[in-house]
Amino acid sequence: MPFKSFSLATNISLIIHLFVKKICISLITILAVSEMTTVILRYVYGVGFLKLHDIALYSFSCLVVFSIVYTFGLNEHVRVDVFREKQTQKTKQIVDCVSIVFFLIPFFSLILYYVWPDIIYSWSIYEGSRETGGLAGLFIVKSTVPAVCVLLIIQGLVVLFNRGLYLFTISEGGTLSAKKAQGETS
């Protein structure tokens, strides 16, 4: 367990968050490097590789969904806080609990339910790139959607378990300051 002072649920959430962070940083690095390589190859040498294009596209596709989990973990999704600024800490936590029970869990469960047939089909044919000569493995890219739904539901449940406190919320009592513990500054 990374931090003994935290509950099991918080530790699970933290492990997921750090894991997703690693994935996202790898993905954005691959995206940037493959995009720069594409430019040099295309404009300097006049050659293009469909597989390289697909590497960029696939890493982007995975980044789209995984980055949502990372941002959620940091509690950095945008809020309209015109009234939130005046809410007490308790009201804020209630609002966040409500948002998870009524919106987060239904929305991502719904995606999970409706995306399932697509994923099963995609795996059954080992779906590859749309372009002939492209990269195989699109079925793995598509599978990130249900994976992310599950991760977000788990992260949401942990927030619920912590009575509306996000992983990186420094509460007034200072009970849950994983942000400090990890030395994260962003």
């Binding site: 995206l31 430019v39 596709s61 980055s67 940091l74 806080d81 009524f102 239904p106």
Partner: protein
């Protein structure tokens, strides 16, 4: 009132309430439609099979290669911010303007117009401006009202100054609508409207907006903001930096050249926005590494050599010296090989230096979290529009529009108001794809100029990003503004700029040549 209208009304009202409660906007605009849809299905008023189309929409967003530029442009912005180069650039520009408070505001406007033009993506631009220029503006004593409004408004300039994604999508839609309208009028060979026409048409209106913003800064500094400059502030701003030639070369020139390269390559149709963003990231890495404090002279030299190689490669490629027709093709091919090897080496060295300075890792994770926020809103807005259509919202809008009284100006005004209002809840892509196919053929059959109409719609959409409480520009700005700037402050700060937008639209209606002159000149 039909039962669907009741549900739609319920959807909109509950959406407003839930968003105002302060929960993440992502959960509100994704979750409320789901909940309303499920409840309505119990009464048999909503077909749950609409939801089965949603995964395809998510896959569509994941495969949208236009969006690949988002994380790359964000990374470029974060790196520019971390290397402090943009701050130095802004301060130096302020130096040119005499080191006054308004001077810094003008320089933010000019720099942000350039940046906005090169990215064309609202979220990335505003986040970048908020991080780079807001601290400098506040430190120099510019009021938080002017700085917030200026950053939000300048950030949305990317929508109107070409190249912009809005204009590309709009060009596609307007051209279809124009052909349909002309065919209905009996003209079976109308002149097509291209995206290039819209790009050319948008340049002058975009500059008009910049000029109007500048006028507002002038008026604000002269008549509204009478606060005296404190000693601390004046120490911070005057004289900003003693401008000498060497500093201009190391601080000011590289980013400007980079922005021009990124913008120019897209404008001239050489590179796609994604490729240009890749160039932008590479260039920013080199610039940031050059500005690092503890590079050895040897490293410095190699990186500078890399920058030099990049320029040589650009010249060789653009003059096509290494192409087969050239007499000395073999020589130039070997030369580009060597030069690109040096470039790659210097890029690797820059990356190594930035990792050592602990800049790269944190820049990457910040880019991820900012991109995550943008993607989440795009996906959630897609769910909202799906349910909106599921309740027949698009048909209701269409029906309302076709019953508007008055001549063609009445219809135009009504459409503009509808787009403006839809901008409060929908993403611009959804508005384009719902509204333009419905109203475009009708309006264009009334003998409006298609380019002019498209630019008018683009300015309108740009305005909708600024309108509280659902202006997406404000969401993005909120995510980077410090807590000392309240959300109410932000709302108040954009009001003058919304008025300016409306003024610009009025000017464009009175003088349509502003939009139509340049495309006609190019087409001649």
């Amino acid at each position: 009132m039909s039962i669907e209208t009741m549900w739609l009304l319920g959807l909109v009202i509950s959406l407003i309430l839930v968003i105002m409660s302060g929960m993440p906007v992502l959960l509100a605009i994704a979750g409320v439609p789901v909940l309303v849809g499920i409840i309505a299905s119990f009464f048999g008023h909503f077909d749950l099979s609409y939801f089965s189309a949603f995964p395809q929409r998510v896959f569509g967003i994941m495969e949208n290669s236009l969006l690949i530029a988002v994380p790359l442009f964000v990374m470029m912005g974060v790196l520019l911010e971390r290397s402090k180069i943009a701050e130095k650039m802004l301060l130096m520009m302020a130096g040119f303007f005499g080191g006054s408070r308004s001077g810094l505001a003008y320089s933010v406007l000019i720099v942000s117009a350039l940046i906005a033009a090169s990215t064309g993506i609202i979220g990335a631009t505003i986040v970048m401006l908020g991080m780079i220029s807001l601290p400098a503006l506040l430190k120099a004593g510019v009021s938080k009202q002017l700085s917030s409004g200026l950053i939000c408004a300048s950030g949305t300039l990317g929508q109107i100054i070409p190249p912009s994604i809005v204009l590309i999508l709009l060009g596609d839609q307007i051209s279809n609508a124009y052909i349909e309208a002309q065919q209905n009028l009996g003209n079976f060979a109308p002149d097509p409207v291209s995206v290039g026409d819209l790009f050319a048409g948008a340049i002058l209106p975009g500059l008009l907006l910049v000029a109007l913003y500048a006028l507002y800064i002038f008026i604000y500094g002269f008549f509204i903001d009478k606060q005296p400059i404190t000693a601390q502030q004046s120490a911070d701003i005057t004289p900003a930096i003693d401008v000498d030639f060497k500093q201009v070369c190391t601080v000011f020139l590289p980013p400007i050249l980079l922005i021009i390269a990124v913008l120019g390559s897209i404008l001239m149709g050489i590179a796609t926005p994604t490729e240009a963003a890749g160039v932008g990231v590479a260039g920013t890495m080199l610039i940031a590494a050059l500005n690092s404090n503890d590079t050895t002279n040897k490293q410095h030299a190699i990186i500078l050599l890399g920058v030099f190689s990049a320029f040589c490669i650009a010249i060789i490629v653009s003059l096509q010296l290494s192409s087969a027709e050239s007499s000395s093709a073999a020589f130039f091919s070997v030369l580009t090989l060597v030069l690109s090897a040096i470039l790659v080496l210097s890029l690797v060295l820059s990356a190594y230096q930035l990792i050592k300075d602990e800049i790269l890792g944190s820049a990457l994770s910040q880019s991820v979290s900012v991109s995550g926020m943008v993607f989440a809103i795009i996906i959630a807005a897609s769910m909202l529009s799906l349910v909106f259509r599921g309740f027949g919202g698009d048909e209701i809008v269409n029906e309302l529009l076709s019953n508007i009284p008055g001549d063609r100006w009445g219809a135009l005004l009504a459409v503009m108001i509808v787009i403006f209002l839809l901008g409060f809840i929908l993403e611009f892509v959804e508005i384009l794809f719902i509204v333009i196919p419905l109203v475009g053929p009708v309006l264009l059959a009334m003998d409006f100029n298609p380019v002019w109409l498209a630019i008018l719609i683009a300015i309108n959409l740009q305005t909708s990003f600024l309108t509280p409480p659902f202006g997406f520009a404000l969401f993005y700005y909120r995510s980077v503004a410090p807590a000392s700037i309240t959300t109410v402050d932000i709302y108040k700060s954009v009001i003058p700029f919304i008025v300016i937008q409306l003024l610009a639209m009025a000017i464009l209606v009175m003088y349509p040549q502003i939009a139509t002159w340049l495309p006609e000149l190019i087409n001649k």
